[in-house]
Symmetry: C2
Subunit: 233 residues, 2 copies
DNA sequence: ACCTGAACACCGTTCAAGT
DNA sequence: ACCTGAACACCGTTCAAGT
């Protein structure tokens, strides 16, 4: 449906791309303004060619997104594989999950795509494997291992989705900072009746100006603590 | 930007809607075929009117999705509030999280929307409050409580996103059952080199035909175990 | 093998006008 | 206060044709 090619460009009159350049530019568009920015027309313009030529590399937009995602997951995988070895598999799991999460912080659009099942192959699968290998060092059943890795990935995705949807365009425009945005919500919360919303009032100061990474780490820690307990380490 | 109305319909020649009917039909479309099915034209047709009239109730598609989501979260909230009281707050948290997850299993499109920040008000906020109130009964700091609820919500969302993206249309069409679909992946996994993918081979039988609910429960259990440990209960 | 322009069907949104 | 038809700009995708 789509083939790889990468031959050196000889004298050409027409535009000439490559899978590499298509994906690189696609990722650039995603980085700039998320999925809505990735259109075939915008991409064609960046590549200096016509819209239809992209369809030689990719069957449709879904495949374009899958390949773009897999492309950047490739570098996440490299980062994960470059991590120093750990005696404790749970420490290793933590480091890997954090590497993945950091990558999503830098590319919020990644959050919604990196584990869609069409992508459960290529680099995503390799990443899944690397996480899973750590659980092989724990005293668990295969089912427990399967669930453990799903849980860790779930924590990453769960936190990441939040992240990907947070900025409501005024923040992206830079018109409003993230802090202001959070504070605005916090302010509304403070104005509600404390009798009806005791918990919201209890944590509103924590919500106001909170750090997403810290929030993610706390969630990850709970899961890893549960896992440690289960593995009897 | 959009106002509520619900007056009884008198003799009318033109179509006449209500916020209620707009949201009900919007949800029906989402239930039938997910977000792509929810278009202003499809919705107008179901309501028996013109496209533009919907814009009297809703400023744009984002608001339509937010309101539709909040609408169904309303019934989830009712279910959660109808849950029997529990001595153990962590048991209560589990029951609530499962209620929410079950609702998403029935409406996979819910997963991606129910916690986007534009929705952090209305019924979503009430649901968040109900979850949080359970943590008020635990011996934790405000920050720990904030993180605990985020973690629980994260587990739900993390598992739900998976769910929402799983069926790749052939499953939705009913042409391929979920089991077949999973088995197809499993088969590809089994064909890979065990030396390169020891973990994948270790868990492939668990993956094949796995139950999403069980997977979610396992992830939730790990988080709750961590929380229990933290609260010293 | 790879690229192009033009077309098609469909989408969200707007607006001046109706009742 | 609420609905309408017609238009606009934009989208993914296709296709017959070019090189």
């Amino acid at each position: 449906m789509a083939r790889l090619q990468n031959r050196a460009s000889e004298g050409r009159r027409r535009a000439s791309h490559s899978m590499e350049s298509v994906l690189t530019e696609a990722v650039a568009l995603l980085d700039e303004a998320g999925e809505p920015a990735l259109t075939f027309r915008a991409l064609a313009q960046r590549l200096g060619g016509g819209v239809a030529s992209i369809y030689w590399y990719v069957a449709n937009k879904e495949e374009l997104l899958d390949r773009a995602t897999d492309h950047v997951i490739g570098s996440v995988l490299a980062d994960v594989e470059a991590l120093p070895a750990r005696d404790d598999p749970i420490d290793a799991l933590r480091a890997m999950a954090m590497t993945l999460f950091y990558a999503i912080v830098e590319r919020p659009w990644l959050g919604s795509y990196f584990m869609r099942s069409s992508t459960v192959q290529g680099n995503s699968l390799r990443l899944y494997e690397r996480l899973g290998e750590q659980t092989l060092r724990l005293d668990l059943s295969a089912r427990q291992r399967f669930h453990a890795v799903s849980a860790v990935v779930g924590v990453v995705v769960g936190s990441a989705v939040d992240l990907g949807q947070e900025p409501p365009q005024e923040v992206l425009d830079g018109a409003v900072s993230r802090e202001e945005f959070l504070s605005r919500y916090a302010q509304r919360w403070r104005e509600m009746d404390p009798a009806d919303f005791p918990f919201v009032h209890d944590i509103v100061d924590e919500f106001d100006g909170h750090d997403d990474i810290e929030q993610f780490c706390a969630a990850l820690e709970l899961t890893l603590a549960g896992l440690r307990l289960q593995s009897g380490t």
